[in-house]
Amino acid sequence: MHPFAKGQGAFIKITSLTVGLTVGLVLLAKVQLERSYDRCIVDKEHVYELQETFQRAGEELQQHSATSGGIAPVLAQEIPEVVTATRYTAQFGDEKLTLEDGSRHSFEEAVFADSCFFNIFATRTLLGDAKQILSTAGQCMISRRLSEKIGGEVVGQTFCFASAPQKPMTICGVYEDYPENSTFARFDILMSMPSVGTYAWDGTANLIGNDRYHSYVRLRPDADMDMVRGEVKELLQRILPWNDLKQVGYTDAGIEMVSVTGQRMKDTTVRTTCIILAVVALVMLFTAVMNYILVVISSLVGRARQVAVRKVLGAPNREFFLGSIGEAALHLLAALILMTLLLYAGQDLTRDLLGVSVQALFSRQTFAVLLTVCLIVLLCCGILPGFIYSRIPLTYAYRLYSESKRVWKLSLLAFQFVLSTMLLCVLTTIYRQYSFMLHTDMGYQYDKVAYVNVSALHGDSIYSLAREIENLPCVERTAAAYSLFCNLQSGDNVLVPGNPQELFNCANMFFAEGGLVETMGLQIVRGRDFERLNHQGWQPEMLVDEHFAQKMKEVAGIDDVVGRQFINSSLGNQYPLTVVGVVKDFTLGSLVSREERPIMVVNGNVFTHYIMMKLQCVTPENITTVQQLCDRLYPDAELTVKLYSNEMADQYQETQRTRDLVMIGCIASLLITLIGLIGYVRDEVQRRSRELAIRKVIGATMSEVQLLFARSIAVIALPSIAVGVALGWYLSTLLMQQFAYKVALPWTVFAIDALFIILIIAAVVFIQTRRVANDNPVEYLKKE
């Protein structure tokens, strides 16, 4: 049996396997990477993340996945079961550092980490003494990739961050990059914990407040968790300032220890995405295998006699099994080679879609799973055809093979219809959800908004740049602001002057100048907008949203907040802020991670990170005009003008990736199914050509002949599509669970999906049968 013999569908088989394996293996590898996430954590099953909990009177217990800076060291010191503890906190991200020689290098993330960081999050130290470096202020270690980017001898070099130009940091060591499937993959710079005070307020010893530290402990293997939790509770009772906490309204506070084992898969978004990807992967592999077997059965007409003759000559069944497995192995090998070429050519696309490199996908971590899948595919594609060959009767040695095997073929096709329909339904749902997220009213208008990150500028230069931009004819309005609306904000407690009771926590946008309301299309409900300052500075006044006003009415009985003064816990008692206006509620963050707290923003152009601008209209020319102005005024700052809508789209990148992956899976699945369907119809046309000819002779028209085929396919396709829709609906419901704000799933959308599949099937059937339906029937009768 020649594996590439003419008429045996080798091309179709290899094509199906290539498409199925490429999509299937890549997605399974991605799922496996998620399952083995953070494998770099040493002795993982005994490592726990510390999360603070707190409760106010009459409110539910809140849990926050970080702690104050001093918690982890105290636990290491006081709890005997804690072997080691560490903490880190992020400080800089996606910006550039400038070396002494003036060269600039971009990096992904810079964090402060303490000297025990590598005890728990292991990676190789390539240069330097990690313990010593991370204990010494002003020193840092950098990742291997950043070291290679900088080039040459990096140890001893000093650099400054673009957003902290006067604060040098010295590179004293290099560590091996963390794997792509780890929390620390983006970490390029580990700065020593004692350096915190140079760049931010130093809360490394705090037991409450400034809760920005990700803290971890490793326990002794024999530690009793209940006992440890009890000890932690007892410790907190001793060390926390309970009177202060109660005075500001807290009734309880604590530390929860969350096991890091399987933590990644506990995240609803990750888990649901993995389920969807695994389903798409299995669908692809299953469809490809089904198609392979379908082609084998379809090509039996050409092989049955050869097999029967061999049997007559005494060939044992084992020979057909081995031959079939050998043939499948060769086809599989060819498909894997093609897959490798495809992935090599599509490396960038793969990274964009999955967020990991092809190298990471096909690494040691995924090898065992992928090899197992390939072996299963091989066995399915080899054993089943071998079984079919072994059952071919000897009589076919001297007569024409005429078994239709329609049940087999239609069953295989039915599976493919089910799976393709299911994927199409899921795709439609994801597509609609993505579109819903992008176009949902966030309470502000950003379609004409662009922004520029000005972290690299300081003092009056930001203020003057904002005015220069506003003077451009293509710009309607600008506003300097501390942060973007699509970013989540840190929280501050709100108090009424003279009362130490903290009323509630709100999202503090810190400073933004007059013009923000107009630039972002906010709506003033009561009061007024900020008046713009004509110098760099700030005013003790704030804008709040309706939620803030409502909350103040509920907790403090204040009917109208406009004109009232409040204390913000960040600025403290010495700076009471007067509410000048209330804006209609708007959304901070995104629909994936949405800010639920009341919002406040203070009038000022200090601590500005962004200049937002409302353009007359969004055109490449207008963006270029603003960009040219920035480049001309501050050529060294490397400012980049970006569209706000792109920033919003980035918030939904995970959803977009899932959508794109399901789309690829769906298209590939449909493609394989259509290949199978085309093969089936071609085979049936050939097998039934005599019958069709007879029908035509006795009066059937072309359309009646085509309908005959369409009906025979419809019998299997319609129920399959119905099952596919039901499965698609179920998966869509599952998928929607990860979204707090989700699109509805009306039956009409699924009906349209079903109709689409029906139309495709009908089109294939009608096109494929057109020739035989058109031909002179006598030609087919002659062949008899």
């Binding site: 019958e691 029908r695 009066g699 028209t701 006598v778 008899e784």
Partner: protein, 248 residues
């Protein structure tokens, strides 16, 4: 070969070239059929002119490759001639499109083949019923007509059998039943006894003769002089031309 040598009396209307009158079922005027490929051109029919009267039983004979089947295909509207005119029951049908040919064929022409050409997946009853379905006959009437024809052909007891469960003679009777169930004006038979033994062959010829006696026009292609003897006239073909007509 030309029409003037014809031994038959033509109706005035046909003589005047105005198409067939009621007495003429088939009129062929200089019918040619040429098969072309990229490299070769084969003339299957070189200019056939003949007539068959309504109610006639005509046998077409000739050696293999003389164009008998090609002629039968053209007569049965399964294929169009390359040239010439074909008048069927007074209507020019030689250059109809596929769809029009199908509609003309339905109910007008019945076919009987040497290899029976029954549909294996359908029962005897369903095979016979099929042309009535395509003709749009209501289900009740279909049932009555199928039962009636099965009775006439003595195959009622085989109604629910499949073709492969029948003898050759029974299969050909089913094929004839299917051909005549629509009460066609013309039955075309392509070596109807070619696959049958003498006894069954005779039964089939008796059936065709009986149909003809009831008024159906029968045109039969055969190699058998014996079968041809059932016809009222024999047309001999050679190399795509009519070489002789014999009135029996």
């Amino acid at each position: 070969m030309c029409l003037s040598e014809d031994k038959y009396i033509l109706l005035p209307s046909l003589r005047e070239g105005q198409g067939g009158g009621s007495a003429i079922m088939i009129k062929l005027q200089n019918i040619k059929k040429v098969f072309r490929t990229d490299v070769v051109e084969t003339t299957a029919l070189g200019g056939i002119t003949l007539e068959v009267k309504d109610g006639e039983f005509v046998a077409i004979m000739g050696p293999s490759g003389c164009g008998k089947s090609t002629l039968l295909n053209i007569l049965g509207l399964l294929d169009n001639p390359t040239e010439g005119e074909y008048w069927l029951d007074g209507k020019e049908v030689g250059h109809l499109k596929e769809r029009q040919r199908t509609f003309t064929r339905r109910g007008e022409i019945g076919f009987v083949f040497q290899s029976f050409n029954l549909i294996d997946e359908l029962t005897v009853e369903a095979n016979i019923e099929l042309p009535l379905k395509y003709l749009g006959v209501p289900a009740k009437e279909r049932k009555e007509r199928v039962e009636e024809i099965m009775r006439r052909m003595a195959i009622s007891h085989r109604a629910q059998h499949y073709p492969q469960q029948l003898s050759g003679g029974q299969q050909q009777r089913v094929a004839i039943a299917r051909a005549v169930v629509v009460k066609p004006k013309l039955v075309l038979a392509d070596e109807p006894t070619g696959n049958l033994d003498t006894k069954n062959g005779k039964e089939v010829m008796d059936l065709l003769t009986q149909l003809n006696a009831e008024g159906t026009t029968v045109v039969m292609v055969t190699h058998s002089q014996h079968d041809a003897s059932f016809a009222s006239r024999t047309i001999n073909l050679l190399d795509g031309m009519v070489v002789e007509k014999t009135l029996l």
